[in-house]
């Protein structure tokens, strides 16, 4: 389900914005996957330079 969620996010700017703001319901995604996804989106938001390849 994480895979499908990611595919949906990258194909919709609206959904991506909502997810980055923490305002998107992520049904079917486990708590651990959600934490990691939101962490990476925050990273992208903060750095504004593509997805980070390094841990914070």
């Amino acid at each position: 389900m994480l895979k499908e969620t990611i595919r949906q996010l990258v194909s919709s700017t609206e959904k991506m914005s909502m997810a980055m703001g923490g305002n998107l319901q992520l049904a079917g995604v486990s708590a651990a996957e959600q934490k990691a996804l939101l962490g990476e989106l925050k990273n992208k938001n903060d750095k504004n330079s593509g997805y980070a390849y390094m841990w914070n």
Binding site: L2, K3, I6, R7, L9, V10, A32, E33, K35, A36, L37, G39, E40, N43, G50, Y51, A52, Y53, M54, W55
Partner: protein, 309 residues
């Protein structure tokens, strides 16, 4: 923790000089160790920090850390000989027979180093049994990686657990056991998480390369190339065609920008970074659950976040 690197290096050199007498073997080994010492010796540092975390005192840990790094050096050489994608490394600039011989000699030297790091026979036996158990599992993982026959995500993660995580577990557990403690299941578990997280981070890097180490150009099956291939749209059919061998490297030599755009658009990069972070988060949770780690956590994380060679 960086201050232990010269001490680990010194032990590596001493072990080689004690056991190797043939001039070319000594010379090449010294040359390869000097090259290795320019890197961070992350595995050896993990041995040292686990020894300290679990109450070990004194200098004998540097011998064990040196033995760990000699094994890592041997596996680096073997890996480069297998992949033939690192022409700049010193072991790729000597004959293949000589490089192979140094690597196999280092494997035995690392075992001897581990035997020599303590006088306690119970600890020695436990260390060497632990070492062989990990390294044999890593050998299984490396073989699966070489064959490149992985077809699904679960098999890939199992292969990474064997190939990458077992080496990290070996390095960490050597410190724990040399400190006189038994096998620690939490350490074993978090080493697996670190190994997968680090491998996925490397996979992101290698997904985007456009040279001999590119996973895409080498048609390498990883978590990310598998995700990419199952996420392609019609306009990306050429990526599948290349992966299946219907297009050659020459056919796609000018397609780098299109390829990078596809990696971004399909979510492959995001998927890789999320998966890597998930395993890393799990590692941190496990680390927080063991009391011994408290004062050492910041140093531990600093070692892990040194650039992976």
């Amino acid at each position: 923790m960086n201050d232990c690197i010269p001490l680990i290096g010194q032990q590596m050199r001493q072990m080689a000089l004690r056991w190797f007498t043939a001039e070319p073997l000594v010379r090449l080994t010294e040359q390869f160790i000097e090259y290795k010492l320019q890197e961070s010796l992350k595995f050896g540092q993990l041995t040292v920090i686990h020894y300290r975390m679990f109450g070990g005192e004194g200098d004998k840990v540097y011998r064990a850390a040196g033995a760990v790094e000699l094994f890592i050096l041997a596996s680096d050489i073997l890996d480069d000989l297998q992949d033939q994608d690192a022409p700049g490394k010193p072991w790729m600039q000597v004959s293949g027979a000589a490089a192979l011989h140094v690597a196999s000699s280092l494997l035995t030297l690392s075992q001897q180093g581990m035997l020599d790091c303590t006088d306690n026979n119970d600890t020695r036996l436990a260390l060497v049994e632990m070492m062989n158990m990990h390294l044999l599992q890593a050998a299984n993982g490396q073989m699966l990686d070489i064959m490149n026959e992985i077809t699904d995500e679960q098999s890939y993660l199992e292969m990474v657990k064997q190939k990458s995580s077992m080496l990290l577990s070996f390095a960490c557990m050597a410190g724990v056991m040399l400190a006189g403690k038994p096998w620690n299941s939490v350490v074993g578990e978090y080493a697996i998480e670190i190994g997968i997280a680090a491998q996925l981070r490397n996979d992101i890097r290698d997904l985007l390369r456009w040279d001999d180490k590119s996973d895409f150009l080498q048609r390498k099956r990883t978590l990310l190339t598998l995700f990419l291939l199952e996420s392609l749209s019609d306009e990306d059919q050429w990526i599948q065609d290349y992966f299946d061998g219907r297009l050659s490297a020459e056919d796609i030599e000018n397609a780098r920008a299109r390829y990078e755009e596809a990696c971004e658009r399909t979510g492959t990069l995001l998927y890789g970074s999320v998966m890597s972070r998930m395993y890393y988060n799990r590692f941190e949770e496990l680390l927080d659950s063991i009391q011994e780690a408290g004062p050492w956590k910041a140093t531990f994380l600093q070692i892990l976040n040194q650039e992976i060679a």
